[in-house]
Symmetry: C2
Subunit: 388 residues, 2 copies
């Protein structure tokens, strides 16, 4: 039987606090502006991926949550091509290495979170795919090198190659070689960062981010201002806030960034709406929490959907998560979390009612590490997927 | 008994298609950008005001819909002061005129539309107040002259001194003397313009436009771009579209303007939301109507609240109003209007359901005339209000 080579990794989800929206080069996924994200703990949200190759495989395949995926798309093909090319260079320089670059790939991937939740899983997915193949090929590439490849799979995936606090530098080169992710600070630099995700039941999937962002670039009359003036200012403030663990600035910029991004979506023609009345209620409750605290202790952010991600520091768990728990304590997601319920006084009662009616579950998590190599494999020694 | 002098007028509501949002001088109500509106028919929406003065009155008073109003505010006082000053100048040059400028004023005002509907009634209100006092004082001032006074009462009131299609030129002078309204075209130039207003039951009154717009000016990072670049472009396009009765351009600019204005509200910190899920459903249905028609036959616009105003041309009444009637036909507002119901095929069914649940009444109206002098008085010859 032909030998089966394999390697496995897990990779995290990241949630941007300075948003990526708009490509200057749609083929290479080169963005119109830089962005910053917080990597979330893999205990709660991660993709687990095993990459294998063998001459016994007939073609490249990808199984995600037991469903075969199309690998013929330009984005997946770009990742395969770039990684094979790096492996082929290693093989040329060291003829004793097995010729893995020419073997068909079998990728098996599993998420540990509900796929229907509308959480940006493509970032974790492409980061895990690239990292797993790089492990399989024993590439000496750095996470930043690999981020340039993962970016071509899904823009925001480049940020999931690091833990902690991560910047995606937009770069300026035409070939995209300087459009890469770098670590701003490891998770250990500011380990008290927490995130409460309110999973909102959307009536239906809105415009996909891939098509939506290019309609914004093409039609919004405010977008250019955001990309050229607003985001560079936010990048500077956010980078400094993270360095100094300054939550007030971190929180204010996070909220303004989310609003600015959704403002350019609304300024798109036809307009794109990701926030609904439940999202607005979450914003209102965060505002009331901050008003009660007399400072910014909670910060909302929304991606291309109605789910709220609320950042806060551990020492304010009661003030923030505890208050949401008083309204949403009966939902899945609080189990095993030591969060003391805080009465929702001085908080808009109607907004609380809207949350009760519109949030389907919560996820309480924290800042976490980047991809972690694992010996736990999703592919058997004979090459068969262990997940059916 | 002392003589009671009096004069009456009616004044219309106007709904902007290029929006006023932001003051460069809050005291004089000088805007950060020019704007354009359509004056709506007074058959459906008007303020009726009688202004009287007499030595038998003890002080300036204002009765609106039978409720005494505070007249000590700077805005009302500015209108009284400017109008009295013009009257005083007349009296100086012609000593035979009665000295009305020194007499206390009694103003009685009535709206013919539900005040709870959240329709911008201050525009019609201040236009009627200024026009009625100008009639009482027999001022030779033109509507543009008077617009400069009404603007100090409520910015958008200056546009209600004209019928048809009206521009408020922002002006550049520090004293505001060139920040005035002018007629772009009379109603007769494009008489087929119709407006369907969907009155949406809001959970509560949002941020007032007076305070909201200044928070936008102070905090939105996109606002300046809108005022300096986006609106001037829209003003040019809109003026030409009205001159040429080009509904497609009129409609596209109207929708983009509304979106741009609400985008800067969302970009305000903290964000201001006037659109709710019902407003979004109205947008969706308008998009579907236009898609079905293969061109822009309907255009939505929203002011500082969730109510939708949908402009269309009479020849498309069936396609536009008829389709909304199929969903909302049981509500008040359709009586006496010859609108053929159009089946809501190829229209988002969920959006139609949201409209059914969230719209409380409709108002179907058309472009109309400016203030009309009337002999119908709300004040008796003895100076008593005829409305209790």
């Amino acid at each position: 039987m032909a030998e089966v080579y394999q390697a496995s990794t897990t990779a995290p989800v990241n949630i941007a606090v300075v948003k990526y929206w708009g490509k200057r080069d749609p083929k290479l996924n080169l963005p119109t502006n830089s962005s910053v994200s917080v990597t979330l703990s893999q205990v709660d949200l991660r993709t687990h991926t095993t990459a294998a190759c063998s001459s016994s495989f007939s073609e490249d395949t990808l199984l995600l949550n037991s469903s075969p995926q199309d690998v013929s798309g330009a984005r997946t093909q770009a990742c395969f091509r770039e990684l094979r090319s790096l492996r082929a260079a290693l093989e040329s320089s060291n003829p004793s290495l097995p010729k893995l670059s020419s073997l068909p790939l079998r990728i098996v991937s599993e998420n540990n979170f509900p796929t229907a939740a509308g959480l940006a899983s493509s970032a974790a997915g492409f980061a895990a795919l690239v990292r797993a193949i790089a492990n399989l090929y024993e590439l000496p590439s750095s996470p930043t090198d690999l981020s340039c490849i993962a970016r071509q799979g899904s823009g925001s995936a480049c940020r999931s190659l690091f833990g902690g606090y991560v910047a995606w530098q937009m770069g300026s080169k035409v070939d995209g070689s300087d459009s890469v992710a770098v670590e701003l600070a490891p998770a250990s630099h500011w380990p008290t960062m927490r995130a409460l995700i309110l999973v909102v039941s959307a009536e239906k999937k809105g415009v996909s981010s891939t098509s939506g962002m290019q309609i914004t670039v093409g039609t919004s009359e405010l977008f250019q201002r955001r990309a050229e003036v607003v985001v560079p200012k936010h990048m500077e403030l956010m980078t400094k806030a993270i360095q100094e663990r300054d939550f007030e600035t971190f929180g204010k910029v996070t909220m303004m960034e989310s609003n600015s991004f959704h403002a350019t979506c609304l300024d798109t023609f036809p307009p794109i709406f990701y926030l609904n009345d439940v999202s607005r209620a979450a914003i209102r409750v965060v505002e009331d929490i901050n008003r009660k605290a007399g400072k910014i202790v909670a910060a909302y952010t929304f991606d291309a959907g109605p789910n709220a991600v609320i950042y806060f520091e551990e020492q304010n768990s009661g003030l923030v998560a505890g208050l949401f728990k008083s309204a949403l304590g009966s939902l899945d997601g609080w189990q095993g979390r030591d969060i003391e319920v805080q009465e929702a006084t001085d908080v808009d009662a109607r907004a609380v009612e809207v949350l009760k009616g519109g949030v389907s579950r919560v996820i309480l998590t924290s800042v976490g590490e980047g991809p972690i190599r694992t010996e736990e494999s999703l592919i058997a020694a004979n090459g068969e997927s262990l997940k059916k």
